[in-house]
């Protein structure tokens, strides 16, 4: 969906759903999703619809992902680190009444 204008000198590698991806240092996780070819980050709790980053400035909370095992992280506010494991989040299981 998105492409990079430049070849970057300093890069690092993360995984998104266990697929390795090389990115420039300083990128956010949301930028990684946009450049990955599949910008979907999670399924919504209510309808199970796919969501992708929307505002990229920490306001909309649509870009929630799991990072290194911790769910519901704002992908647009987290900078990638070498070896970071990012996972798209499935629809949460409904809570029994």
């Amino acid at each position: 969906m998105f492409r990079r204008l430049h070849k970057d000198s300093e890069t690092l590698t993360i995984t998104i759903d266990d697929v390795a991806m090389t990115l420039p240092a300083g990128s956010t996780v949301a930028a990684a999703l946009l450049a990955s070819g599949n910008m979907v980050c999670r399924k919504t709790p209510v309808s199970g619809a796919d969501r992708a980053p929307y505002c990229l400035m920490g306001v909309c909370f649509d870009c929630l992902v799991e990072i290194n095992g911790e769910p519901n992280q704002q992908a647009c506010m987290v900078v990638v680190r070498p070896g970071m494991a990012v996972k798209r989040m499935p629809r949460p299981a409904p809570v029994a009444p």
């Binding site: 998105f2 430049h6 930028a31 450049a35 309808s47 619809a49 796919d50 992708a52 505002c55 506010m77």
Partner: protein, 459 residues
């Protein structure tokens, strides 16, 4: 808790950076808390990375972006302490601040607080706006500034306002194909009466006209007076539909970028709470502040777009004014110096603001409620439609806090940031009451996500 900070500043956009440099220059102990990883705010986002690694991008990022570099460098050269990737989740009236950094929360105290949390884009729902492939113009610009990312395929821009045309020009400079600009009702005639005052900002007007010329000369399709924007797709955006001159048209596109102007981000000021007023011209809530940014709360000020939309230059001026007031209140300058420097800064700020009524009238906020179909989602988090809000009003809800309990709109992770104004607009429209009376969500801390572990770890 350690010794209070002289001046705690929240946000490192133009207002926060300019304030920090001035206050630190006058000998105050200044700490700037910024939830981003580098200074610049939204408008000057990524300026250090761009200057260091992607200097060629400055050609198309434009003069206003370059102008920010001076403010930013002065901030970096100052003695103000900068705390990046640090969110502020609480401010109390006694000027205790709750911060969170790297998974650890703590409380700090400040003699003065300056809130410089800026603006956000006005969320205006259209059918399908939650589909992957629909983003905001500001988001696309952030991706461009911070990461040098541009869309692969053709892109449609929908809405109006200076930022939309700025991004279009930047995209043309970066070689991106713009399928169309769908302009939702600019009002040149309504803006005419404000033109005389805006003449003080001929630089602004010239810049705007040059942008529009550049876009036209590039042969971009601009369709004016568009309504009924609709994002179409199953699981992702495939096409954009719109109405113009009585007919419905469709453009295939993988990416739609929406923009309907910007509003003050009042989440933090509302949570304290400081007093707010409804601004009819900009159709959003603003904290009540005096000419130095002081709120009704002792020692707590707001500067920049968070106090009312005025643009980056006016924000920097107001940041300096608020910093000056803090410097004066803490006894670092005399009454005479305060008046003298303050007078100059006020004049500068008035000049920067002169073009604003023109822009407000040229790109008026849309009549949100009237155009909103019952099945369009207003609350993205809890997936609540306009129809559900209307049904709750029919049941007797008179304000957004009631519809929140009835429908869950505003109860999701964004804490109402995305739906607050829309929900209130729908209620105001249904009850035929002014927005000032309908009110807003009661915003409660923590206004940023915090783990229970962080809370438990507080001293």
């Amino acid at each position: 808790m350690s010794e209070p900070i002289d001046l705690a500043i929240i946000g490192a956009g133009p207002a926060g950076m300019a304030a920090a440099a001035l206050a630190a220059g006058h000998g105050l102990d200044v700490v700037v808390y910024d939830e981003n990883q580098a200074p610049g705010g939204q408008i000057y986002r990524g300026f250090e990375a761009v200057a260091a690694d992607r200097a060629a991008d400055l050609d198309f990022l434009g003069d206003s972006y370059r102008a920010g570099l001076a403010i930013a460098h002065a901030f970096r050269a100052s003695r103000a302490r900068y705390q990046p990737s640090t969110s502020v989740w609480l401010i109390q009236k006694d000027r205790t601040i709750g911060i969170s950094h790297a998974g650890r929360a703590r409380m700090v105290e400040a003699r003065r607080i300056l809130i410089a949390t800026g603006a956000m884009e006005r969320p205006v729902p259209i059918p399908g706006w939650t589909l992957p492939g629909v983003m905001t113009v500001g988001a696309a610009q952030t991706a461009l500034k911070a990461a040098g990312l541009v869309p692969r395929g053709p892109v449609v821009l929908g809405g109006k306002g200076p930022l939309l045309y700025q991004l279009a020009a930047q995209y043309l400079g970066a070689g991106v194909t713009i399928a169309a600009i769908l302009e939702t009702g600019a009002r040149p005639l309504a803006a005419l009466p404000h033109l005389v005052q805006a003449w003080w900002r001929t630089d602004y007007l010239e810049k705007g006209l040059a942008l529009l010329r550049q876009i036209k000369n590039a042969g971009v399709t601009i369709i004016k007076n568009v309504s009924g924007l609709r994002a179409i797709g199953d699981g992702k955006l495939d096409a954009v539909e719109y109405r113009c001159g009585g007919t419905v048209q469709r453009i295939a596109a993988p990416l739609l970028l929406l923009h309907e102007g910007v509003i003050a981000n009042v989440q933090l000021t509302m949570a304290i709470p400081a007093a707010h007023r409804w601004d009819e011209a900009q159709r959003c809530w603003h904290p009540v502040v005096d000419e130095y940014g002081d709120t009704d709360l002792e020692g707590i000020a707001v500067a920049g777009d968070g106090a009312g939309i005025g643009g980056a230059e006016a924000a920097a001026s107001m940041g300096r004014l608020a910093a000056l007031a803090a410097v004066h209140a803490l006894g670092k300058i005399s009454d005479g110096e305060f008046r003298e420097i303050g007078y100059d800064l006020q004049r500068e700020r008035r000049r920067y603001l002169a073009g604003r009524p023109f822009l407000d009238a040229l790109y008026p906020p849309p009549a949100v409620a009237a155009a909103l179909a019952d099945d369009t989602l207003v609350c993205r988090c809890e997936e609540v439609s306009a129809g559900e809000i209307r049904r709750a009003v029919a049941l007797g809800c008179t304000g957004p806090n009631q519809t929140k309990s009835f429908t869950r709109a505003g109860m999701g992770p964004c804490q109402g940031r995305m739906c607050g104004l829309t929900v209130a607009e729908v209620i105001a429209d249904r009850l035929d009451r002014p927005m000032a009376e309908v009110g807003y969500y009661r915003i409660r801390p923590p206004i940023k996500p915090l783990t229970v572990g962080e809370l438990a770890g507080l001293e």
